[in-house]
Symmetry: C2
Subunit: 323 residues, 2 copies
């Protein structure tokens, strides 16, 4: 039973995100105690877990992983008491989250990491009412949580590096890719990037330039295929020929001044240029662009073969095109 | 020889984009005549084609497809003379493009479609100096052109529907997904979306919130995986539970007012809401969200298995995490 106690996780709030966390922890062989005050929460939760389980079986379950290792506990304080790690997913209201986190803080061992799934609220705000704020972090996942590996870790003013490291280790143990964000900003990093694209998409629909379906197609049949493997910086690095990002900024830097989006770009100062070029070259692992291209092409050949089966059938576009 | 003459394509300008087009047309069994005034252009072109050819073999070549069906012709007018379709890819300078398109216009049969790969210039601008502007279109592809299926078709003020349809048919014949854009705007649709994300990415690096590598990771391990299959509208549709986009706009509409990005969102009017909800439901093919989720999850399970091999090795992030 020692092993079990060491690995006990508590999940507070069992909406879509909470269920996603629970599935991921269970599939990796953890004991999970879940709590949620909503009526019928336990039944809905168990259905949600059962629904996602076949995908986890296909991804490969850890030894001893079982849906039976989920316990539902109506009382919050009771639910978190023996947990080494608590993931909070209550509705996105600052007052509520602060209250729940303070309750968890008061009911757990000081060594317990307490992570909030918040997408919008900064950890310094969230940890204000806690007696031991050093173990309060943001651990922001992406839907579906049991499949997408990204989790953004953000520490607040009072968070300790030790607790960030602990959280990072736990997330890695459930096959996630933890990304430690250095600076607290609303929306963290990934949601800000998505929100920029989303706002531009709304402008395009609003201005009558394209329909929602056309906007979707403009992503899935193009950039979306590249972004599954490489982010925007490495993608542009590959568009710059042998010189990579250096050439790219020279050639397309001026385009930042064009009214191509409703978003004003930052001034391309020498400092920013250096950051971008050096950062990209570093993450390219100093591999020549040609080698990265080879890697990208081999991926794309296999991805195109796969995704063809899964693209939603175009409705309007198809009709337009087939006249 | 009749068949060959019917299918002759001319590609003007043999940089990265031009070579990409040539590879795609050759692989689908077309005869291609290429032209470019640069010194050593022919040799560089043939090397580029040979370099990409193995990927096309893996994607499956059309009957009779061969690298030998590429002819290089130094003289522009001679190169385009017998083509049923011309794809222009000269450098992105308005004056130069207008001149080259006018020359092509003067040297081809009136039935020949003339497409420009321009990413930034509108077709109404490009067709101004042509005697037969009705067959001038924008046909904007994405790198690598021989693998990514997206091509944006935009007609200008004088372009005929017949020519847009013809272009669409030719692009479909080379396994592309032509997207006809209804309204001319600089950057068309896909580049505007990418540029919005790119500008936000530069702001994030500029403000010291994250490094280029972290920004890339924030895309590839999360949204990028979803966007390979579903665009932003369908993605949010799935995040809205059973009610889909309708619920989504209710829940996250207010977030459009938050300073999460440097981009100001449009006002969420009833008209825009209707466009977004109806458009998304239509492209969902009226399938329930649960069914779309199933499709997404099955795709993600297979994609995650595939992409793991191809993600670039994280450099700095890995070090940070492993302490």
């Amino acid at each position: 039973m020692t092993k079990t106690n060491n690995k006990q996780i508590a999940v507070v709030g069992t909406g879509v995100i909470g269920v996603g966390w629970i599935v991921r922890f269970l599939a990796h062989g953890y004991d999970v105690v879940a709590t949620d005050p909503a009526e019928g929460a336990e039944q809905k939760l168990r259905e949600g877990v059962a629904h996602a389980w076949p995908y986890m079986e296909r991804m490969g379950l850890a030894e001893g992983a079982s849906q039976d290792r989920l316990r539902f506990e109506a009382d919050l304080k009771e639910a978190v008491r023996d947990a080494v790690f608590v993931q909070e997913n209550v509705p996105e209201r600052e007052g509520l989250k602060r209250q729940v986190l303070a309750d968890i803080d008061a009911s757990t061992d000081r060594e317990t990491v307490i992570a909030s799934s918040t997408s919008g609220i900064t950890p310094s705000t969230l940890q204000q009412d806690c007696a031991h704020p050093e173990r309060i972090i943001v651990g922001h996942p992406f839907n579906p949580v049991y499949l997408l590996p990204l989790v953004e870790i953000v520490g607040g003013e009072h968070t300790s590096q030790e607790m960030i490291d602990k959280a990072s280790d736990i997330y890695k143990a459930i096959a996630m890719k933890p990304l430690v964000i250095q600076k607290e900003v609303e929306g963290h990093v990934a949601d800000r990037l998505m929100e920029a694209l989303w706002r531009e998409a709304l402008h395009i629909v609003n201005d009558g330039v394209a329909t929602t379906e056309e906007v979707d197609a403009a992503i899935t049949y193009g950039a979306g295929l590249r972004w599954a493997q490489m982010g925007p910086f490495l993608t542009f690095h590959l568009a710059g020929g042998d010189e990579g990002m250096k050439h790219m900024l020279k050639q397309f830097g001026p385009a930042l001044k064009l009214p191509w989006t409703k978003l004003e770009a930052p001034e391309l100062t020498d400092e920013l240029k250096d950051k971008v070029i050096e950062g990209t070259e570093q993450s390219a692992g100093n591999k020549p662009v040609q080698e990265l291209e080879k890697q990208r092409n081999e991926f794309l050949v296999r991805l195109l073969d796969l995704v063809e089966e899964y693209w939603p059938e175009p409705q309007t576009i198809l009709q337009n095109e087939q006249k």
